[in-house]
């Protein structure tokens, strides 16, 4: 079992990354996890609970995927409510550092009134726990038994989007570390919008905006782009972050060169709108 746990930890994607190898990779992972599951002490025994509840070395901890399987195939199947609560508590405890940090990060740049932050954090964390419990107790969601961390990322994404929309704060979030978004970006976006009315100049690339965007850290760009519609995001990311030409992006996304430029134009205009509320912060050069 120790060897299997290390294998899960050390697993890295293969060099060949076509569909077939991806399936193989996950099939192999499922097989390793199944071996660990089968080697567990008898359900409910002292050794069983000791193994589940004991802090382990990084390479020796029971994979969370196996815990999910135990929850579903043992505790749920036996309608053992006490065990269900106990296993879910172990999972939440193991995720505690990560989840608490995620909650702080999600609210880090939100404009909140004094005293609101704690209340919002508690709400968001409860929403996340609810989503987590519902997923863990739903044995139709098999991916949690295959790649727990990735399933968790999608669950947190879902909770984050839902929470921000519900609170009406989706557009009010500041970009990450707002002071790093330089004034030149705002000015360039301003020019970009002014040019929008002029068909002759519509296709001219906004070099200053481009430079400004490149100066922003990847997480900041991602936080900004995350608020754009998906079809606009890919164009901006590929051009500003991966240095592709508009022609290459067009070919890649199977759209015309002109559509790429139009999407870029729209994206820049929308980013300017998002940043508009932050103008004072940016011009003052102070972080939020």
């Amino acid at each position: 079992m120790e060897k299997d746990k290390k294998q899960i930890r050390n697993e890295r994607p293969p060099d060949e990354t076509g569909d077939a190898s991806l399936s193989d990779l996950f099939a192999e992972r499922r097989a390793v996890l199944a071996r660990i599951y089968r080697s567990l002490p008898p359900y409910g025994s002292v050794a069983f609970w000791e193994l589940l509840e004991r802090t382990q070395e990084k390479d020796q901890a029971l994979p969370l995927e196996v815990l999910v399987r135990v929850l579903r195939e043992e505790a749920l199947a036996r309608a053992d409510k006490q065990a269900q609560h106990r296993i879910c508590e172990i999972i939440v405890a193991r995720l505690q550092t990560s989840n608490e940090q995620w909650v702080r990060q999600a609210l880090a740049n939100a404009h909140l009134l004094p005293g609101e932050r704690h209340m919002f954090a508690a709400d968001l964390y409860a929403d996340l726990c609810e989503q987590l419990l519902r997923a863990l107790l739903d044995d139709g969601q098999r991916f949690w038994e295959e790649s727990f961390q990735q399933a968790l990322r999608f669950a947190r994404k879902h909770v984050y989007e839902g929470f921000m929309r519900r609170e009406g704060r989706w557009q009010k979030l500041t970009p990450g570390r707002g002071y790093r978004v330089p004034r030149v970006l705002l000015e360039s976006l301003e020019r970009s919008e002014q040019r929008a009315g002029s068909p002759d100049e519509q296709d001219v690339p906004d070099e200053r905006a481009e430079q400004a965007l490149l100066a922003v850290e990847q997480s900041d760009i991602a936080a900004l782009l995350f608020r754009l519609p998906e079809r606009l995001r890919a164009v901006v990311w590929l051009i500003f972050w991966e240095d592709l030409s508009t022609k290459a992006v067009g070919k890649l996304l199977n759209i015309s060169d002109r559509t790429v430029r139009n999407r870029l134009q729209t994206a820049l205009a929308r980013l300017r709108q998002v940043l508009e509320n932050e103008q004072e912060v940016v011009i003052d050069g102070k972080g939020a």
């Binding site: 990084k58 990560s98 409860a126 726990c129 609810e130 098999r142 991916f143 990735q150 997480s219 995001r233």
Partner: protein, 206 residues
Amino acid sequence: MEKVREEEIMRITAQFVAEQEAGQRPRLEDYARRYPQYVDEITDFVTYYYAMEAGLPTDTASVPSLSAGSRAALELAWERIDTPFASSTLTLATLARRKHYSLARLASILNLSVDLVEQLARRQLDPATLPGELLQRLARALSQSLGVVRQALGLPEMPSTPFLAEERAAYHTQHQISFREAILASSQLSDAQRNYWQDVLERKRQ
């Protein structure tokens, strides 16, 4: 089919994360080339990942005692999951309490004034005149299905379901007014909020 697609996207993006964590600097370009059918979904995840997840700890080997915050969140989550709704106790106020929302907080989320939310909670508004957008906002705010929200407001669970006379009688009070009348009469609604909901009602009419 949708589930298969979702799982496929999760596997593909898991690969992206694994490469990133291994220091291989994966490129969206490569993934767009390999999986053109999922380019929007992959981009959606990648931007979220870099914005929110990339720096988070993934070491989950230790089993610490639950912090007060984690304990409270977990208990509230169990409470939401474990307690089934009895239709007789299903009201807007009970749904708000389960989310630990005051009516003022709910009003702020819904872009309404407190007096209007109080009228809603007391079933003083004719539920048939409530705009769909308000019902959807309530469902999102209270993390409930539209059906549950409709029931809490005294509407049939499904819009197409005929409303039995005795059911309507149970919810109908003598002093119910329409949503439109309520927003015009409200003393607490801001001008911006009033205009917003009037626009919503106009769109509904058109």
